[in-house]
């Protein structure tokens, strides 16, 4: 088991530069900028687990104001062009997921737009 873990770790580490230097890797509009809530390397691999954990914390226990909030991701990562994390191959969540062949349903309910703007538009 431990051997397996080490093997996977090595494999993952080996993949990092490959991704970073990949010329066909998606060019993403990071959005507002600043600093991500965790190390971007960690986020790249673990954002789904972080979000799932946060989802239960907020929904079931009522924990608010966490930096791992999904609304928070959207607030930072929404593109300056259309204020959304969805829309095209440059939009943050959609761009990478299309590239990686991932489909998520989160934005069937959650707003994909930056909160402040979405509210100002009302």
């Amino acid at each position: 088991m431990k051997l397996m873990k080490n093997f996977l770790l090595v494999l993952l580490l080996a993949m990092t530069p490959a991704w970073a230097g990949d010329s066909v890797a998606p060019r993403l509009d990071i959005g507002k900028g600043g600093q991500c809530v965790e190390d971007p390397k960690l986020m790249r691999r673990n954002h789904m687990d972080i979000l799932r954990h946060q989802r239960d914390e907020t929904m079931r226990s009522g924990v608010r104001g966490s930096r791992h909030s999904l609304a928070g991701c959207v607030d930072c990562h929404a593109s300056s062009r259309n204020n959304s994390v969805l829309g095209g191959s440059e939009n943050f969540c959609q761009g990478c997921h299309t590239y990686a062949g991932v489909r998520i349903d989160c934005f069937e309910c959650h707003s994909s737009k930056r909160k402040t703007v979405a509210e100002a538009g009302k």
Partner: protein
């Protein structure tokens, strides 16, 4: 309401016990309502959110609570069978006297919610502070809860939605109902309907912590006669009605 209600007796017993506990430690404020919870803090089981509706102040031609709810939560405002309605205005008429009463009916936030009992996935649940919610991440849209609810308080989303309020995610294929505006309450604000009712100059809805004997709502519940809808079911709803 002439039969003895054992739940109410238990409730009175508990309330006085809590009150006695408070005398032992006077001046200890367990919860600061005006500021909401601190970031990272979970909802507390020492709190129970509830409402007291004064039907005497509620007018049959006023729909402000419903409109405010629709706006806050992004509901269309339609009233057909397939539209989501989180609050409905209900008119009661006493046939003998002809007296009519108007009141808003929403999720009654039961202590023993039948919706949660029948839910096969644990999506319907009661939060520690008494708010009954649908965890839409777990909801499979079976709608058992809608059938189990004696107040007909729940709706099912039939069509895909767009442009939801960022604070209120909603989507096709899941059940929903009044959340007591949980996103506002967690910030220390009042539910949208309560605010709108006050703005309309009626103040028919009082919101607060019914587990805190010193809260305005608890004092009022002690002072005036109020009732729960279908108290005979012994679900102990957190919403009470005055003058019904």
């Amino acid at each position: 309401m002439s039969a003895i209600n054992p739940e109410r007796r238990k409730f009175l017993g508990k309330t006085s016990a809590v009150f006695a506990g408070l005398v032992i430690a006077p001046g200890v404020l367990l919860y600061d309502f005006a500021h909401g919870r601190a970031a990272g803090e979970a909802a507390s089981g020492r709190v129970r959110w509830g409402m007291l509706v004064d039907t005497g102040q509620c007018a049959s031609d006023c729909n402000d609570c419903v409109s405010a709810c629709n706006k806050e939560n992004g509901l269309s405002g339609g009233t057909s069978a397939t539209d989501s309605q989180w609050i409905r205005k209900v008119e009661l008429k006493d046939l003998r006297s002809g007296r009519t009463t108007s009141l808003p009916v929403m999720c009654q936030h039961c202590e023993h919610p039948p919706c949660a009992d029948v839910c096969p996935t644990g999506a319907s649940f009661r939060r520690a502070d008494g708010i009954v919610l649908v965890d839409k991440h777990r909801c499979i849209g079976c709608r058992y809860c809608m059938m189990a609810c004696p107040y007909k308080a729940r709706s099912f989303v039939h069509e895909p939605l767009t442009d939801q309020n960022p604070d209120v995610p909603r989507g096709k294929g899941t059940v929903e109902s009044c959340t007591l505006c949980v996103h506002r309450v967690d910030r220390g604000e009042q539910p949208a309907c309560v605010e709108a009712c006050a703005k309309a100059g009626r103040r028919a809805i009082l919101f607060g912590d019914i587990a805190d004997p010193e809260s305005e709502i608890s004092k009022r519940i002690r002072a005036v006669a109020s009732a729960q809808i279908r108290a005979d079911l012994m679900l102990n709803p957190g919403i009470r009605y005055e003058g019904m």
